[in-house]
């Protein structure tokens, strides 16, 4: 065995070390969403009703009705600890943009309506309606793999961005502003 062979073996194995180093920079749990750029999956869901709920024009909501508006969908659950962190930001930003062509909806994931209502009460109320997704079909349609997840839907009906984990005021404002500034694109 001579030095040339050593170099050869090294040349074969060091890429492995480089690969592992690359792996250190990635997060295996993070799943990049394939939805951005595609039309947002359509849904028609019931609104969660409780005393003191924000007024909703109808008992059911369809995504198609909101074409032309920016829609923010936030998946949450009462058993989700991280969802508590983002509650304040969501409520505040929703109020700030109320009536300006920006619609917020919560989607209750894998939970009972009673638990949802209790959680909302405990958190001091929600400034936007929450929708019920009893068999998680809509969640599956959006490629959900955990909560909280927040989807930003552009006025032309496409998914613009998916945020995994608790969302902040800054992220919400940034994306809403970006989408409001976009000229309406014609659907192909």
């Amino acid at each position: 065995m001579n030095w040339r062979r050593v170099l050869l073996v090294l040349a074969g194995i060091l890429p492995l070390v480089a690969l592992l180093a690359f792996g250190m920079t990635r997060d295996p749990k993070e799943l990049p969403s394939v939805l951005p750029g595609k039309p947002a999956p359509e849904f028609t869901l019931n609104v969660l009703d409780y005393a003191g709920a924000p007024a909703a024009p109808k008992p059911t909501v369809s995504l198609a009705e909101h074409r032309g508006e920016v829609v923010v969908l936030n998946y949450w659950a009462s058993w989700c600890l991280a969802c508590r962190d983002e509650h304040r930001a969501l409520s505040e930003v929703a109020e700030r943009y109320a009536g300006q062509g920006v619609q917020f909806y919560g989607l209750l994931y894998n939970d009972t309506p009673q638990n949802g209502v209790e959680w909302i009460r405990a958190m001091g109320g929600q400034s936007y309606p929450t929708l019920l997704d009893p068999n998680s079909r809509t969640a599956i349609d959006y490629g959900l793999y955990g909560v909280p997840e927040t989807f930003f839907i552009a006025p032309d009906g496409r998914v613009a961005h998916k945020h995994v984990g608790p969302v902040t005021d800054q992220v919400l404002t940034e994306w809403i502003e970006k989408l409001r500034a976009q000229p309406q694109r014609e659907a192909e």
Binding site: M1, L20, P28, N110
Partner: protein, 672 residues
């Protein structure tokens, strides 16, 4: 204070390890017995200090001293005592502490048990052990210190991961795994030591093989214990998911198995020296890779500890060890020249070469599959999964080949097999193969691989058992002993060989268990009302009760079912779901009835009113054989490890000095 004591102890261990490197190298270069004893004392001191550190941690855990960072991380007043103690290895920092302790134990054992007459070999081997030790003890001092101060001291902690609190096997699997994993550092140390000392002769083989075999036994037991734990805890009735960390423990096992076989070729023919050294070094690197995969957070897995920057340290260590080993190997290559010579293609030597080929290909396949998601992300920027279907598809053919080889190896003698010999030895097993094949086809065994596994398994079982019978008969004729005595004496005279055959039989039993339980697995699922009966195969299940229990650390929902056969109640089983605070999905505790065929119940869902429950049932035969087979493997390998006095003529390659020490029997004195 416990915390300061532990912290200090790890620092002292690190310093001692660094000092030990120099002491051991000096002793090796001067070939001085007194200096060697000095190096030994470094090893003993490190063991004492690490025992202190580990003891301090266990004490801190048991007394719920939340000022210690690790206790604050995994401790909880609500956790039962047994699980509190074993939470020592439940998270990253504690697991490294435990690793460090096992490494210190092995280093001390090497210092104690390795004869000083080996001089430079021992010295350099110790220096390598100190080097590896220095790395791990340094991790304990800085990046992964379990003894940091937590202030203000919390009143309670979150407790260990609930997955690790569900079963007593969690007290068994990790220690066995560490004894196996860390144990593989020793052959590596002897390998580099032999190169540095310029002694690649029989002494190296003897030392290396002994330690490799003992580590191999622990690793095998650990893998089987892990499979058993998976089976009893995870709820899907399976025992191997090709999870990245399962693969990480399996790969060094494959290369170590290859080494245990090919080293016999080196012993007899002086060949394959470079190959064997590469195997030993690769085995060690695979253990470090395995540790890295578990702790770096680069792959998502059931087992993974939370990642962090510690991964970079491991990466650095891998790079340094890799380059260092290659440099040493290349620098001393002149020692490793050997004349390649085989007497015949039909010989055990050739079979061992093929064995190594298949095991290496197996390792490569598992490594590729485990790391491919990373490769795909780096090249295509896409996340994809490489899961069980891939691994099963790609490795099952190799497994069939291995079963076949397990049968062929014992049937062929070393050096050369005459056609008459081959016919004599392979006739009965060949018939067994054909008969089993025909029976399997006629009985319509559902899975092709099961058919092959049964057929090749029957073949291999016959050849291995034949070795016992023919050897016993030969002894009975030669010494006039009765069967039992002859068998006993036969095994005593050739512990290595017959222990190995027993280990083979253990592997075959496991293979048959795996084949049968996979091929004949039946799954059912139904929602039952209280009092409702459900016919599942031979059994009838009746839901009697759905109950709820609040425990200090969790909330348990269970379903009690009566199991009937032929109208008689034969058992009561209670699968449960355990809800822990902060986890969205509950952890199951399936109910398992292990007989010749296992009845496996898992509670999937239940009605809030307690009137109904959804139960999934799996029936799979011969699962017990997997655990029994594992025990037989450990037994056989244990027998193979027993030292024994050499009888008969000395083999020419052995130096005279070695005659004084007990030798393991390598060539049988009777029979073939």
């Amino acid at each position: 204070m416990i915390r300061l004591l532990g912290d200090l102890a790890t620092m002292v261990a690190c310093a001692l390890a660094l000092g030990g490197i120099f002491a051991a190298v000096r002793a090796a270069r001067r070939q001085d017995a007194a200096l060697l004893r000095q190096a030994d004392s470094f090893a003993y001191a490190i063991f004492a200090v690490m025992s202190l550190a580990t003891g301090a941690m266990v004490l801190a855990l048991v007394t719920h001293d939340f000022s210690v960072s690790y206790v604050a991380q995994v401790g909880s007043r609500a956790t039962p005592l047994f699980f509190t103690i074993i939470s020592l290895w439940s998270a990253l920092e504690g697991s490294i502490l435990f690793w460090g302790w096992v490494l210190a134990l092995y280093t001390a054992l090497v210092a104690w048990r390795t004869p000083a007459s080996l001089g430079a070999l021992k010295g350099y081997a110790l220096s390598v052990l100190f080097f590896v030790g220095a790395f791990f003890y340094f991790l304990l001092v800085k990046p992964a210190s379990p003894f940091q101060l937590v202030s203000p001291v919390p009143a309670d902690g979150p407790g260990p991961n609930p997955l690790l609190q569900n079963h007593w096997l969690m007290g068994v699997h990790p220690p066995l795994l560490y004894l196996g994993y860390v144990g593989l550092t020793v052959p590596f140390a002897f390998a580099l030591g032999s190169l540095l000392a310029g002694r690649t002769d029989a002494d190296w083989i003897k030392e290396t093989r002994r330690w490799t075999l003992s580590a191999w036994i622990f690793l095998s037991a650990a893998i089987v214990a892990g499979m058993w734990w998976s089976y009893e805890v995870l709820g899907w009735g399976g025992y191997w998911a090709w999870d990245p960390v399962e693969n990480a423990s399996f790969m060094p096992w494959l290369t170590a198995t290859a080494f245990l076989h090919s080293v016999m070729v080196q012993e007899r023919r002086g060949m394959l020296k470079v190959w064997n050294l590469s195997l030993v070094v690769s085995t060690f690197l695979l253990t470090i890779l395995g540790t890295f995969l578990t702790r770096s957070g680069i792959l998502s897995s059931v087992h993974a500890f939370a990642g962090g920057e510690i991964g970079y340290y491991f990466l650095g260590f891998i790079a340094v060890t890799l380059i260092g080993s290659l440099v040493i190997l290349a620098g001393r290559s002149s020692l490793l020249q050997s004349e390649g010579r085989l007497d015949s293609v039909a010989s055990r030597d050739t079979v061992f070469l093929v064995n190594n080929l298949v095991l290496t290909a197996f390792t490569f396949t598992v490594l590729l599959g485990t790391l491919f998601p990373l490769v795909a992300e780096a090249v295509r920027g896409v996340k994809l999964s490489v899961g069980a279907p891939f691994f099963n598809k790609m490795t099952l053919p190799l497994c069939m080949l291995l079963i076949f080889l397990v049968g062929v190896g014992p049937a062929l003698p070393w050096r050369r097999a005459t056609p008459e010999e081959m016919k004599r030895k392979l006739l009965a097993p060949g018939i067994a193969l054909l008969l089993t094949l025909i029976a399997a086809i006629v009985l319509r065994v559902p899975n092709v691989y099961a058919v092959l596994a049964f057929s090749f398994g029957a073949f291999a079982l016959m050849t291995n058992l034949q070795e016992f019978s023919s050897g016993t008969l030969a002894r009975m004729r030669a010494h006039g002993e009765n069967a039992a005595l002859a068998l006993g004496r036969l095994m005593q005279a050739n512990r290595h060989r017959y222990g190995g055959y027993i280990a083979h039989i253990g592997v075959l039993v496991m293979a048959l268990g795996i084949a049968a339980s996979s091929a004949y697995r039946a799954e059912y699922e139904k929602t039952l009302q209280l009092g409702e009966s459900w016919t599942v195969g031979d059994y009838e299940l009746r839901l009697q009760r759905v109950w709820v229990e609040e425990q200090p650390h969790r909330f348990v929902v269970g379903a009690d079912l009566d199991v009937l056969r032929g109208g008689q109640v034969i058992d009561r089983m209670d699968p449960r779901m355990n809800y822990y605070a902060g986890r969205d999905e509950p952890l199951p505790t399936p109910a398992v009835r292990s007989r010749l065929s296992d009845l496996y119940l898992n509670l999937m869902a239940f009605d809030q009113s307690g009137t109904s429950a959804t139960i999934s049932v799996v029936t799979e035969p011969l699962v017990m054989w997997i655990w029994l087979g594992g025990m037989i493997v450990a037994l056989g390998a244990g027998i193979a490890m027993l030292p024994q006095k050499k009888r008969g003529a000395l083999r020419p390659a052995r130096p005279a000095a070695a005659r004084a020490q007990p030798q393991r029997e390598l060539v049988s004195t009777g029979g073939d």
